[in-house]
């Protein structure tokens, strides 16, 4: 039986020859990301901005116009009303009331909405996030991403050498920025789940980069004279089949989630699907070139853990 092979054996794709194109492209993306984040910004969900979210299910297709005019009479400020998946499912979002007692006022808004919509609709979900908590959630979210990238930097530094560490972290920052740009560009709601998606993308992208770097390290020991660009290309090619396979299975699982997993986590899976692509791209086209740019100290014949062990040993002596 012939097995499915997505990537033929012994590919010799000269990835590093295209590195300037790739890095140039990524730079453009990064600049676009910064511009987007500063001009369009992110569409923060109530987790980060505070506010009230009510998901209702009506009998029969929802009359959005009617709901809008019903709620319009309450004077709640900006009210977003949108269909959510099914035609009888409606998502209502209201901004947090401003002022001293915003927490209490938010609670009052929920009662108002419920009294206008009545008991004939099914309240599938009610979320109220006060300004105090949303502020903390923003802080925690940013901190989570920064700490996780920093810890990865330290871990890779410990396991490999600093050049590798730098390469992988540049790739990580690249992925986070690109994903944020996607959120901004499409106006997707950015909430706690998005932070979870970002962290998973960080983990996945790191995973991919580590596999390539692991092979680079191995080849560095094997081919002491080989040109570094050639060696990185060889390593990427050798692991290419694995990279594509794993991306493939992960994408299959994520597609199942995206299609069948329901509306609540659709944004989350969409971000992750994007992340798989960007993570795979960056481990080939960003992490490698950074490594080439900073160079590798090749006289450490054992490298990695061995190198660390040797330093420790000489420190003792």
């Amino acid at each position: 039986m012939r097995h499915l092979k997505l990537i033929p054996d012994d590919t010799k794709i000269p990835f590093s020859r295209w590195r300037f194109v790739a890095v140039g492209f990524s730079l453009v993306v990064m600049i676009a990301a910064v511009v987007l984040l500063f001009t369009r910004g992110l569409n923060f969900g109530i987790d980060f901005e505070g506010g009230i979210l009510v998901e209702i299910s009506t009998e029969g297709p929802a009359d959005i116009g009617q709901i809008r005019s019903d709620l319009g009479g309450l004077g709640l400020g900006e009210v977003q009303i949108q269909q959510f998946g099914q035609p009888d499912d409606v998502l209502i979002r209201v901004q947090s009331p401003k002022g001293e007692d915003a927490d209490k006022a938010s609670q009052a808004v929920v009662s108002q909405i419920k009294s206008v919509l009545g008991d004939s609709v099914e309240y599938r979900r009610v979320e109220v996030v006060g300004p105090q908590v949303s502020g903390e959630l923003v802080q925690d979210g940013v901190l989570a991403i920064v700490v996780s990238v920093a810890l990865m930097l330290i871990y890779i530094w410990f396991r490999f050498e600093w050049q590798f560490s730098l390469g992988s972290v540049v790739a990580l920052v690249h992925d986070v920025m690109a994903t944020l740009a996607l959120f901004s560009l499409l106006g997707m709601e950015f909430n706690l789940q998005s932070i979870a998606a970002l962290l998973t993308i960080v983990g996945y992208s790191m995973n991919d980069t580590v596999i390539v770097f692991d092979r680079v390290r191995e080849n560095l020991r094997k081919y002491k004279k080989m040109d570094l660009a050639e060696l990185v290309d060889l390593s990427v090619n050798q692991t290419l089949s694995r990279t594509v396979m794993t991306s493939g299975t992960t994408l299959l699982a994520l597609l199942a989630l995206f299609i069948f997993g329901g509306e609540v986590i659709r944004g989350f899976t969409f971000a992750m699907i994007f992340g798989i692509f960007i993570g795979t791209y960056s481990s080939i086209f960003i992490a490698g070139p950074v490594l080439l740019a900073v160079g590798v100290t090749r006289d450490t014949t054992t490298g990695g853990l061995g190198g660390v062990a040797k330093e420790k040993a000489s420190g003792k002596a």
Binding site: E55, Q132, I195, N207, R242, L252, A253, L255, V264
Partner: protein
């Protein structure tokens, strides 16, 4: 790499069987779960509120008020202390979060300090030092003595208020008759409440929104509330409160409390025998009954006010001395309001007001839909991955799939045993793990392919495949584990559930995809002794 000690083989079997056995209860309908004997695993996965429906409330204590209250008490204590010592002073008051007083004669300053120091007591130290600390920080500068609360004192105060509040919140929630509510401290001054199955927390919030500090006081006979409001004067020893009912009417009441709400032993909703209005019947303890009896005996004909959270619920006239320690509060209640008031009075007063900072309620419909969607996604995702693996690696793909199924069973087993909470993002974590768990096998198999292509025989190639892939597998999984750990630390609720399943999935997948798979391959090699392998 392909040799296994006997004990390792036993361990592999034990872990795999345990995984399957502890997963099993999840496939038994809840109704039949009680028939499972106690010695068999019978714990099901704990579903999060987003899957089973329910209310999540994050309550915040208004801790500033606690400190303010303590400072106010301190002002009174300092006043009486300085009086007892006959030390003349001016300008005693609260300034910038400290009690400040000017001692008239600089010579007395030191004596004043010692006197005030007598008020100080010792509180437990913080988590960093077991050393007890004093609760008052006293500073003397010339004639000015300033007294502040130490951090330890503030902390101890907040902590005890949180503990008390949890107890009272629990009593109030229990009155709603819900099952398995979770009430726990979160952070320094927050309380997390999770009530499964509660899809409309309106009554719960109404109950939690009241401090329920209650007392009985005489209505002042110096002037009426309207007069006090009109002349903007409040006679000494009285204060102006408003009725709870609309339209709010001013009532001038005495500051002195006849009987405090802490003297109540019971409160029940009922109906007035004359007009059938909903009322609350209450009972005092013996001290309360005596106090109430004495005051009502001495003040027949005067109205008294029943004050709840600084609002007058009703102000009936005392017609005769009430000696039995029992009474009735009637105040234009609906049945629901009377019921809530009775619950509040029975459960006692909160030490400080609390606010709902965050609320997430999921109805049963959405929860059920989410479970169904998660199941469908997990099944379809698994089938797709399984088919893809077989198409790519044939027989070895089947072995990887067995490892994958064991892995899913183990994730469910660990979740059941730890009683961790499964949320919708948690299900996403499992589906994602299904996709990523085969990565280890992919790494190994690709490596074996390479080694075979380099001309190695089956056994050395397989040996090298597992050997060389191990470091990549570990590095890759540890980095993902770091993300999961941080997500767990920083995340809350559903997102935390994602981190939990992701982390469990990483650990179990390394075991199944590396160790179990390797064992299966080694058994196969020994039985078949293949000359060539096709991957």
């Amino acid at each position: 790499m392909l040799h296994f000690d006997r004990w390792k083989i036993v361990l592999i079997y034990v872990l795999c069987i345990a995984g399957l056995v502890y997963t099993a209860p999840n496939f038994i309908p809840k109704s039949q779960l009680n028939d499972v004997p106690d010695w068999l695993p019978n714990q099901q996965i704990n579903l999060g509120l987003d899957l089973r429906g329910g209310s999540y409330l994050l309550l915040g204590l208004e801790t500033d008020a606690l400190v303010r209250e303590r400072l106010q008490d301190l002002v009174n204590e300092v006043r009486s202390e300085l009086r007892d010592e006959s030390i003349p002073y001016t300008g005693l008051g609260i300034h910038n979060g400290q009690v400040v007083v000017n001692i008239t004669n600089a010579a007395d300053a030191e004596r004043a300090r010692e006197a005030i120091d007598g008020l100080s007591s010792v509180v437990a130290g913080n988590q960093f030092s077991a050393l007890p600390e004093r609760d008052l920080l006293i500073d003397v500068e010339g004639q000015t003595v300033s007294i502040g609360l130490s951090e330890a004192a503030k902390r101890a105060r907040v902590q005890s208020a949180v503990q008390q509040s949890i107890e009272i919140v629990r009593r109030r929630i229990d009155e709603l008759g819900t099952t398995e509510p979770v009430i726990q401290q979160q952070g320094v001054d927050r309380i997390l409440v999770q009530v499964p199955g509660l899809d409309d927390p309106r009554q719960l919030k109404a109950l939690l929104g009241k401090t329920a500090k209650m007392n009985f006081r005489l209505v002042s006979n110096a002037m009426s509330g309207q007069q006090a409001l009109a002349t903007r004067t409040v006679p000494a020893g009285t204060e102006l409160l408003y009725t709870a009912d609309e339209p709010k009417a001013p009532v001038l009441v005495e500051r002195r409390i006849m009987v405090g709400g802490d003297r109540l032993t019971d409160a029940q909703p009922g109906f007035d025998q004359q007009n059938g209005q909903p009322v609350v019947n209450f009972k005092f303890d013996s001290t309360g009954a005596r106090q109430f009896g004495e005051v009502t005996r001495d003040n027949v004909g005067r109205p008294f006010a029943i004050v709840l959270d600084n609002e007058v619920i009703s102000a009936p006239v005392i017609r005769e001395p009430i000696m039995g320690g029992q009474g009735q509060i009637s105040g234009n209640f609906t049945v629901q309001e009377a019921n809530n008031l009775a619950i509040l009075l029975r459960s006692g007063a909160l030490p400080v007001a609390i606010t709902v900072l965050e609320e997430r309620t999921v109805g049963p419909g959405l929860g059920a839909d989410s479970i169904r969607a998660g199941e469908v996604a997990a099944i379809i995702g698994s089938i797709a991955v399984v088919a893809f693996m077989i198409a790519s690696y044939g027989f070895f793909g089947v072995l990887a799939n067995i490892a994958l199924i064991l892995n899913i069973a183990m994730i469910f087993a660990v979740l059941s045993v730890l009683q961790a909470t499964l949320t919708l993002p948690g299900i996403a974590g499992i589906v994602l793990t299904i996709g990523m768990a085969v990565d280890a096998n992919v790494l190994i198999y690709e490596r074996i392919r390479e080694e075979v292509a380099a001309g190695k025989g089956p056994i050395p190639a397989i040996e090298a495949g597992y050997n060389r892939a191990l470091s990549s597998i570990l590095d890759a999984n540890i980095t993902t584990l770091i993300s999961a750990a941080i997500l767990f630390q920083m995340g809350s609720g559903p997102v935390r559930g994602f981190a939990v399943t992701l982390a469990i999935g990483i650990v179990t997948s390394v075991f199944t995809a590396f160790t179990v798979n390797r064992y299966m391959v080694s058994v196969w090699l020994r039985r078949r002794r293949p000359k060539t392998i096709t991957l």
